[in-house]
Structure formats: structure tokens, C-alpha cells
Symmetry: C2
DNA sequence: ACCTCATATAAGTATGTACTTATATGATTC
DNA sequence: GAATCATATAAGTACATACTTATATGAGGT
């Protein structure tokens, strides 16, 4: 599964946000996601599996618990793809700034 | 359609890459995409529609042609989401650098 | 007016995937 | 070693969406 497909799902994005705050047990993730999205434990577990298999998360066992951490390596790829477009929205902001400046001048006249 | 869903499709990503090189007529896009993905003209047109409706592309008519340009505004949102993870792969690179340094030291002994 | 070219839309189909419930696995406690 | 807790897997279903072919729209040339 391509990195962008993985990120296409809102539940998975949310899980990554949670993991960004630090290592979380599967159960903790399940609790939050269930509260926010109202889906079952297996559904969350399946999303965690996708995150594991696509390289976005790592797991370690601690007794019966599975502790998940973010692995942002595939996000790097995403970031690099987006990077080439960075100039475009900067250009747009510049254009906006120019318009604002024009507006100011007009108002002054 | 959420920005990440739009980017989930490889054809749409490729179209955006093409548009990043400058304004392109629908037909020019169709030609490249057909060569690379082997899909029909309507399929490409439908992707262009998605890009339009999700704010990733703008169109203007020039005679019978439709000229498309990138609008990277929604990509900004994507970029901002990814941003919070930037620290993670930097940390990973640092760790790698540390390992390399360690390796060097070991070899010297 | 008609024909052609460029593009979009309509309608139908197939496939992937995000869920569900039920069940398995495997560590812990009594 | 039976019961329990935490998590994963199995199997089935439903829905979204990425295609297809056929057709509509609409500008330009003859």
C-alpha cells in the first residue's frame, strides 16, 4: 500500500497523531479511536496492521500489551513529493500580499 | 474528497506533476497519462474533474481547449499535517549518524 | 448548416477496502 | 490448568471509486 493511500484514511491519520505523542499501547489507541469514530476493536487493530505493514509504525510486546511507536520514514517520501509544490502556494501567498498592498494604496488615494 | 484521498491515486499525482511544469491542455495530459497508464480519455477527464472539485487544479477555456493549472492550496494543508512528523525522521537520521560515528570509532580501535 | 476536433458527462461494472461479528492466540492471575 | 485480559485474525458484507463504452456539448473551419 502506497504511503498516500495509508494516509488517505482519517482513522489512520488520527492514530499516527496519537502515536506522535509517544508510545501507546494498542488498547489506549482503541479507546480514543472508539470514542472519536465509534468503530470496533478489530477495526482499529486492522488499521494498526496497515500502519505496521506500510512502515508507519513499529510494535514491541510488553507482556500481553503491544506498544506502538511512529515510524515517520515513509512520511519522508510524502514530504519530498509535496516539496516540489511548495513554491506554488508561496507564490499564491505572495500574490495575495501584493493584492493587499494594492488595496492599501487604493485606499490611500 | 479529502486532500489525502485525492493524492491517494497515482494517476492524479502524476497529473499534478505534469501541471507543475506549467499550464497544460486536457489533451496533452490525456496523451501522457494514456501512454503511462493505458487508461481512456474519459478516465483522465474524470480525474481532472476530481482535481478541479477538490481545489487542486484550475481551468480556463481557450477555444475548444481546456487549460489546466495547478492550485497547490490544498497541498498546504497536507504539508502542515506532515510537518508535525518532520522531527521524527530527523531524529532517525541523527540516530543513523550516531551509529555511523560509533562504527567508525569501533573500526579505529 | 455540417463536420470535425477537444472535452465532458452518463450509465453501468468490477474491485478494493473499511467495516462487522465471531473466534483464535497468548500472557497473567487465581 | 481454568478464567481473564489484551490483542490479533478469519470470514463475510457493503460501499466507494476507478474504470469501461457510449454519447452529449460546444467551438471552429469549409
Amino acid at each position: 500500500m502506497h504511503a498516500f493511500d495509508v494516509l488517505g484514511d482519517p482513522v489512520r491519520r488520527r492514530i499516527l497523531e496519537l502515536l506522535a505523542d509517544g508510545e501507546q499501547a494498542s488498547g489506549e489507541v482503541v479507546e480514543v479511536i472508539q470514542a472519536e469514530f465509534g468503530i470496533s476493536q478489530p477495526a482499529v487493530s486492522q488499521h494498526l496492521k496497515v500502519l505496521r505493514e506500510s512502515g508507519f509504525a513499529n510494535v514491541r510486546a510488553e507482556g500481553p500489551r503491544r506498544l506502538y511507536t511512529v515510524d515517520a520514514t515513509p512520511l519522508k517520501e510524502v514530504d519530498e513529493w509535496v516539496e516540489r509544490f511548495r513554491g506554488f502556494w508561496e507564490a499564491k501567498l505572495d500574490a495575495l500580499a501584493t493584492e493587499v498592498a494594492r488595496g492599501k494604496r487604493k485606499r490611500k488615494r
